[in-house]
Symmetry: C2
Subunit: 153 residues, 2 copies
C-alpha cells in the first residue's frame, strides 16, 4: 500500500524549533503529544489521515481526539493544509513557513499512492469564472484520480 514515489522535492524538512515556535507565538503550549505529531508530519511528504498519524505514534503517546484537536488548531494557524481525497477522511500535510504553494494531487484509487502535481492551471480561468458570475474570494479544489503504474494489472 504505502509507497514512496520518487520526488524531486528539495525535501526541506522544517526544523522542529521553527514549528514549535509558531505554536508558542500564539500562546499555545508545546506538549508532548503535539511535539510527537509534528515529528511525524515532518517526516512525511504526503498528506496523512489522523488515523495514520495515530498509528505511527508510540503506543499510548496520545489520544486520537487530541490529534483531531491538534490538526484543527494547526490548520487555523496555517501550519498544516487539509486535503479531501473524497474517501471520507481528511488528510493533513505540513506547510512550510513561507510556503504558500498551491498544488494538486494524483491519487491512485487502489493503493492510495499520492503524487504531487506541481502546476496549478485554473489560476487564470478561476479569475474569469469569478468575474463572470460575480463571485469573490474564489478558490478551487482539484484532484486527479486513476490507477498508478503498480496497480495496473
Amino acid at each position: 500500500m504505502k509507497k514512496t514515489c520518487a520526488h524531486k522535492h528539495a525535501e526541506k524538512k522544517q526544523e522542529l524549533s521553527s514549528l514549535t515556535g509558531r505554536l508558542r507565538r500564539e500562546a499555545h503550549k508545546i506538549t508532548s503529544p503535539r511535539a510527537a505529531i509534528l515529528e511525524i508530519l515532518r517526516h512525511h511528504a504526503h498528506p496523512l489521515t489522523n488515523k495514520e498519524i495515530f498509528a505511527e505514534l508510540p503506543k499510548g503517546e496520545c489520544d486520537l481526539a487530541t490529534i483531531y484537536r491538534a490538526m484543527q488548531l494547526m490548520e487555523e494557524l496555517g501550519m498544516v493544509k487539509r486535503f479531501d481525497f473524497g474517501d471520507g477522511s481528511a488528510r493533513f500535510k505540513l506547510v512550510g513557513e513561507g510556503d504558500e504553494s498551491h498544488h494538486h494531487h494524483l491519487i491512485c484509487t487502489r493503493c492510495a499512492e499520492v503524487v504531487e502535481i506541481g502546476e496549478c492551471f485554473p489560476e487564470e480561468i478561476e479569475r474569469r469564472i469569478a468575474r463572470a458570475n460575480g463571485f469573490t474570494g474564489v478558490t478551487h479544489r482539484l484532484e486527479f484520480f486513476g490507477l498508478c503504474p503498480g496497480c495496473q494489472k
Copy 2:
C-alpha cells in the same frame, strides 16, 4: 439560503417514463418512494443532498434510508451523478439518457448556491499528467468555492 440562479439551460426535464423505464429495464421496481424521488430530482437542476430530497418529500412518503438506497442504486445504473462539495454530505443530480457531460460547479461558501460551469479545462492537461506519471483511467474532481453576489456584504 435556497436560491434559484438564472440559468440558460435548455431545461429539458426528462420524462418520468424514460426514467422509470431505465429502472424497469434492470429488473427493478417502480415503487412509490422511487417515483416520488425521481419526481423531485426531475424538478431540480442542481445536485441535492439526500436530506434535501427527504425534506421535499410529503410527510411520511419515504424513509431516509430508502433515499440512500435509491440514490446508490440509481448511481450504479448511471441515472444520477454523485457530487462531493466537501461539506460532508453527498449530492445527486439526474443524468440525461445520453447526457455524459462532464462539468464543474461554483459553490457559494455561505448560502450554498450552486452555479454550473459549462467548460472543463484540464481535459488535455489531464492526459499529459496521466502519461507523465504512468497512471491510467485518470479522471478529476474540480470545484470552485467563493462568495456569491448576494452574500457579499
